[in-house]
Symmetry: C2
DNA sequence: TCAACGCATCAACAAAACTTGTTGGCCCGT
DNA sequence: ACGGGCCAACAAGTTTTGTTGATGCGTTGA
């Protein structure tokens, strides 16, 4: 194995690990349809806020999402570049209605 | 989220989990160049046999590899279909020399 | 200024994953 | 039949992950 690949393995493993949880995949599925704030995700995914906060942190540290503050809301968006660089193409995930905020 | 996606989430999560470990990525990197027996992998990856056996089991249960017995050797091969169905394309991993068997 | 909201973070616990050493089954050569 | 090589599976111990409830900080609106 070349050093180039060896060097990229930790990053690859981190990205795949971020994708290895159903809750996080659910989050990403929502984000494929655009920006979401945490309160929307807690509502749509019916999950506790601290739980989502934890998973969003994992996704952020893997580079899969970016966040943006607006007033008291934190908005999260998908980072397709990192997904693509890991060779991952998120499938055709259908549109999901937004219920909140 | 549609039921179709919801139903595929566990399988997707399993595949990504199988990809979330450096040792397993190392194994897959070897297998992109063709069939390998466990003894070759232990040699190339400098890992204990029981450790590889464990990781190969994870990969197998996720459907990412298939095994074939030949005499006392077990040969493992990559299953690109499952990778593709998860939207994953393994990058251009350079050829690695074989040292063993 | 104060109460309510949105969110991150922490502590504590439970559960799952990984490593290492060991055991035993299968297969081969003698 | 017997010894040895290849491998899966098990057990025990450690580390990592995920969940839940509590706490705290910054923001907003009254």
């Amino acid at each position: 194995m070349t050093t180039a690949l060896a060097a990229s393995l930790p990053r690859l493993a981190r990205v795949f690990h971020a994708l290895s949880d159903e809750t996080r995949l659910g989050i990403l599925a929502r984000l494929t349809h655009g920006e979401r704030c945490v309160c929307e995700l807690t509502d749509e995914l019916d999950a506790a806020q601290s739980r989502l906060s934890f998973h969003l942190k994992v996704l952020k540290e893997a580079g899969l999402v970016a966040d943006r503050r607006e007033g008291r809301w934190m908005y999260y968006t998908l980072n397709q570049d990192v997904l693509a660089s890991a060779g991952v193409t998120l499938g055709e995930w259908p549109t999901v209605g937004r219920k909140c905020c």
